[in-house]
Every structure is written in C-alpha cells, then in structure tokens.
Symmetry: C2
Subunit: 389 residues, 2 copies
C-alpha cells in the first residue's frame, strides 16, 4: 500500500449556525484545508464527504457534488461521494479517502464532514439521531440513543462500581478543555455539582452528560506521504485506519459494558501500526455521553476494563498526563455535528502533532489516536496518526 | 494498483416486494454473491453498501452494519459502510469496494446495493427521489426529476430534431429485453403506440417513458485478480472504475443536451483501460427516462452527439447489433431500486461476459460497460468490465 499523509486541515466554528447554510460551512472547511495544504483546486483528485442525515435534515440527498458545485469546482468534473455510518460518517469518509490515495488511483483528495443539526426542531433532530440505533428492534419501542447509553451506564455501575460522579468528571474535563478552543460550541466551564445536579435525560445520564446537537464542518487534505514535504513542513502520516462493526441493537450483544467494535478496531489499528496504547500521547475519543468516554478509555486499551471511572478521576488523562484525552473539548463541549465529528477529531490531533494547538497544546505529542462511534457502537473507527519529522 | 476481479454476483427479484424487508433482500443478494464466489463469510474483509435514502424511506440510517448483523456476521466485527450518491449509490459503493481491494488493505469485499422504494406513499417516494436534484435551486420551486429530464428532452428535440417516437423506442426496447429476465419488475412487452399514447408525466415524457419505483437488492464479491481463478472459472476484471460530477442544477450548465459528467467519466474510463467505445459488446446504461438512455448513447461515445434518436431507431443496439444495450431491461423494465441499480447493472454485465445470461445472452461478449447516473447528471459512474480467459 502507498503511504498516505494528511497535508492540510480546516474547520468551521461548531455551534448553532443558523445564519450559515450547509453548503457554506462545507466549503469553508474544505477551502481552509486546501490552503493549509498549499494546494490549488487544480491539484485535487476528488472529494469524500461524511454526513449522517442530509436527507431528513435538509431534504437533500446526493450532497457531495453539491459541495463541489458550490465551491466552484463543477467544471472540473471531479469525483465526489458521500459516506454514511451514523455519527461515524466523518471517520468512514476519511477511511475511504485514505484507501483511495493508498490505492494509487487518486493523488490528492479532500475529506470533509458536515452536518446541520439545528435547522430542524430539536425533537426531530433527536428522532433522526436515534435512527442510528436499530429501528425495528429498539427505536419503535421508544428507545433513544441516550436511553440506550443509559442502559450501558447503569450496567457498568452495577458490574464495576462506577459512580455517578465518576461519569460526571468527563463532562467537567471536556468543558475545561473546550474553554481554550475558539471553535468550540461551549466554552463555559462546569463543576461536578452542576453536571450531577442537572436535569435527567435518561437516568443516570443528565443533560450535561450528553453532547449537544451542533452545526459544523471539518476537512482534511490527504496525499501520498512520499511527496508530502512539498506541501507541509510537518506531514502527519496515517499509521492505521481501521473500522469494525457489531450488532445494531444493544440487546443482541453478549455483554454491554464494552463496545466490541472499538476493541477490535483498536486491536487492528495497533497491530497494523506496530504500536501499543502506551505510545499514544494525545487522543480524541467518542464522548457523545459521559459513559461513552469512559468505555473508550477501557476499550481502546488505555486502562483495564472496569477501571475507567477511578483511573480518570485520578487526573492522569488531563493536559499534563501521559495521555491527554479530548484536548478539543470532544463531542461534549466542542460540539457534535454528527458527520463532521470524525474529521474534526483528526483535524485536532493533526494540530496537536504539528504543535499548532496554541493554548491547549499537548507537550511533545508525536503520536495520536482518534476514535469515532456510531449509534451505540455498531460502528467504531480508529485512526492512528504520526508526525514523521 | 492491484488488479481487481468480480468473483461472484447475486440479485433479488426487482418489483414491489411488500412482504420482504430491507434486511432480507440485502442479505439474499449478498449471500448469493458469496456462494457464487465460492467464499465463506470467514473469508470476507468488509461490506460496502449502496443506498440512496434509507433515512427517509425507512427511518433508519447506519444501515451497513444492520445488513451484516442480520446476515449473522456481527460477531466477526467486519467493517461495513454505506456510500451514497443518489441513484448512483450502487456504482459508487462498487467504486469504493474496488479501491479498497486495489489498495491492498482488503482482500475480499461484498459490494451490495439495496433500496425499498414502495413501502412509503408514491408521492413521498417521488419527493425523496427529487431530493437528488438541487433542493434550494430546483426542488423548492416545484421541479421534480421527470420535469427536469423533460426540459432536457425538449431541448434535445429542439436542437437535433429528436422525435417523440424516437424517445419511445427506448421503452419498447427495454420491455422487450426484460421479457426474458425472470428478475425484472415488468416483463410485459410494449408497443410504440402504447408508450406514445400513455398519460403524460412531464411533457414530452409520458408515464411509460419513466422507470418505475422498485424494491430490490444486488451484490457482487470483489477480490484480487491474481487469485481469482481459485473462485471462478470466469473472473471478470474491472478494467476501469471512474466517477465524474457536475453542477447539481440543470440550469447551471452551459448546455443541457449532454451530461458532461458522463462524457468525462467515460473518457477517463476508456483512457485508463486503453480501450474505445467500439470495443464494447454489451452495456447497461442509465435509462431512468427514455431521454436518459438517448443521452447515454451519445455521451458514452457510441453515436455522434444529436444522432441518438435515429441511430437507435435503426436497430443497431438490439440483441443482434454490434453493441447490445440494456439486455436486463434496464431501469425502465428490470426496475429502479435506486441504490441497487448500479450493482445490478454490473451483475448483469458479469452474467453476460460469463455466458450465463440464458435467453437474453449477448453472443460473444467479452468486454462490457455500465453507466449509472444520479439526479440529472450531477454524478455519473462508468465501469468497464472484461472477461480475462
């Protein structure tokens, strides 16, 4: 396989972007990434777009050529296509862009992720996000994504003694991190008492345990590693890009206190890259709910199964820890524009590995990980990224 | 790039499959293709699924792992992802599967296409199909897909003298072909008078100029060409897989009597394969509307621009012509389950190249083409397929 590098990144502000259209934010992120990669559109080979639900959110399918079109690139007749896998759509688009460059058919591709979640009523948006769970076996019976994650949380508490406060710490951490991220949806800090005392969504998860619905877009430019130095002083090599799936419905799994899709995707990724969890200095992990982040620490191999709560509480995943989690603020505080999330995670780790993360720079980071999950874990995607100079 | 072959194909009946679920038909096609490729699920590396609009049609996003799950493969944690580009979703999924195998990261992948169009009201289904046109510039003003194609037809008549009867001949041809295809949605023959005299949908297109809304699924198994002989006596090499895009809205194009996305995708494909249109013995082309098929003949380079009507009327694209078009019956008569179409086109050309097409076998076919279009041509995908023994 041809080695692939990330040459440029771009990202819009995340939040309630009511005055900006889907097309606008998609283009803004993509053009930023192109400029960052010192490429003109004439060099581009194609566009991969991660998006979860434009059909229901915007009454618009077939959106990848739409973005090219509004970027003024229709006349070049580039290939463009959308990749979808619920909340992991962005990472899956990156996986495809990676394979496209690795295959040799394409040299330079833009991988974008974009979603406008806040242009429809909140109840509608929540229904749509729940369409990433199993409609026939979960959703028709009234289950929503937070309700399903709450089942997982409750079971984790039962099996391992995880506490309500241990969960809440993930939200406090993410808001602390996002306070230094100018692109974040929420930059306010939270106290443990605020998170624990917030209104309940699906017990034990309260409203401050849940990531918001956000609008936003992110993009990266990929190209062959061999010539990457022509585009950037700090090429970031994709050391592994791995996807794994599991049953759609939580009830069909042998155990629910672990996401097997994450375990397997991480194992495959570390094996391919010939590295281990201990090598990771910075990671953006899936924290759509506080319990999701806790499971991520365990399932990615950063802590022993069941120990996520107390280990995180010890503070070892903060800015000064051996491994810093979610310096962007994660889905919880940077925001959750579904299809954009996986690409934004990669953009953040690239900024960190390049040393361009400013106030939230993780010192000495040369190897990073991103972890994206759809639904309740029917899809997980893990990327390993490495600074090569 | 590693050479890629098609090792197996599968396809359900197309039609109004009200007694069968999306999951069922997806699995049926996939398992058929696996058995045809003499592979067990243990050999599989992943699943690519083409689907246009499961979110609006089924209230279910994140459907690729759903199919794996219901095929009993969740425990293997294979990668699975959906690729979307309107009516060209199936071909785009094939393009991705092709790149995945060509890259070397995956050895064997199933590429499926599936859509259930008839479980919602027909007006809803028509709205959904129109969501592959430009929502903000076309659809909100009342334009539908057939109305937009009718504009193209009217302009073609104006510029080149194409007649209503010349258009109608494509429908007569497709139904004649489908009469020999047991999987076809419609197997009844049509007369020219019936097509011309049918109720109008968007003048000059009548109801019999338009492909139906269908349910159905198709699948192919891809693997490295090098070892293909272990799986089949007749491996079919993918000689080219090319995608090109254009403006979403018809009104934004310099001319509307040609799909530039098709012209460019075909040029790229013939260049990559070092072949020419004259080499093609059998082709499945996009005929969602009779005018679409006429444009396809011209834009793929089979006839001179403007000459599609009279050349087709001469009969040279029938079963005994030098090039046989749509032996399956095409979208018009085999049926149009949007996301499945591109994969079904490839399955038909594979059957033809293998000499397994029975009553509708095109004699001596060793080189074939498929052509898939989304919306009014914002996306076109061309595959060139070659029998290698």
């Amino acid at each position: 396989m041809r080695e692939v590098a990330i040459l440029g990144v771009g990202q819009t502000k995340f939040g309630e972007l009511w005055d900006r259209s889907f097309r606008e934010i998609g283009i803004e992120a993509g053009l930023q990434a192109l400029v960052d990669a010192k490429l003109s559109s004439a060099d581009l080979g194609g566009l991969y777009l991660g998006n979860m639900a434009s059909g229901t959110l915007l009454e618009q399918e077939h959106i990848a050529p739409l973005i090219l079109d509004y970027a003024g690139l229709a006349g070049r007749h580039l290939p463009a296509m959308r990749v979808e896998g619920g909340g992991a759509s962005g990472s899956l688009a990156l996986h495809q862009g990676y394979l496209a460059v690795a295959s040799g058919q394409y040299d330079f591709v833009v991988v974008g992720g974009a979603e406008k979640m806040t242009d429809v009523a909140e109840t509608t948006a929540n229904q749509i996000t729940s369409s990433t769970a199993d409609h026939e076996w979960e959703v028709v019976f009234g289950a929503t994504l937070p309700a399903l994650w709450a089942l997982i949380a409750r079971r984790h508490m039962h099996e391992f003694g995880t506490t309500r406060e241990q969960l809440a710490r993930f939200a406090v951490h993410d808001h602390e991190m996002a306070s230094k991220n100018p692109l974040a949806h929420y930059r306010n800090k939270l106290t443990l008492e605020q998170v624990v005392g917030a209104g309940e969504v699906a017990e034990p998860l309260g409203v401050l345990d849940c990531a918001p619905l956000s609008d936003g877009a992110a993009a990266v430019v990929l190209g062959p590693l061999e010539t990457a130095k022509q585009h950037t002083d700090t090429p970031i090599r994709i050391a592994a890009s791995e996807v794994a799936c599991d049953t759609m419905a939580v009830q069909h799994r042998e155990k629910i206190t672990s996401l097997q899709s994450t375990v397997v995707a991480a194992e495959r990724a570390f094996r391919r890259a010939r590295r281990a969890p201990v090598d990771v200095r910075v990671a953006e992990v899936h924290d759509a709910y506080t319990i999701s982040a806790l499971l991520a620490l365990e399932d990615l191999g950063f802590v022993e199964k069941g120990r996520g709560g107390p280990e995180f509480a010890s503070g070892r995943f903060g800015m000064d820890g051996a491994l810093t989690i979610n310096p962007s603020g994660g889905l919880k505080a940077q925001g959750r524009p579904f299809g954009a999330v996986g690409v934004a995670q990669v953009a953040e780790v690239v900024r960190q590995l390049r040393g361009e993360a400013k106030d939230r720079q993780v010192a000495g980071a040369t190897f990073g990980l991103t972890h994206d999950v759809a639904g309740t874990g029917a899809t997980s995607v893990v990327h390993l990224l490495e600074r090569t100079n």
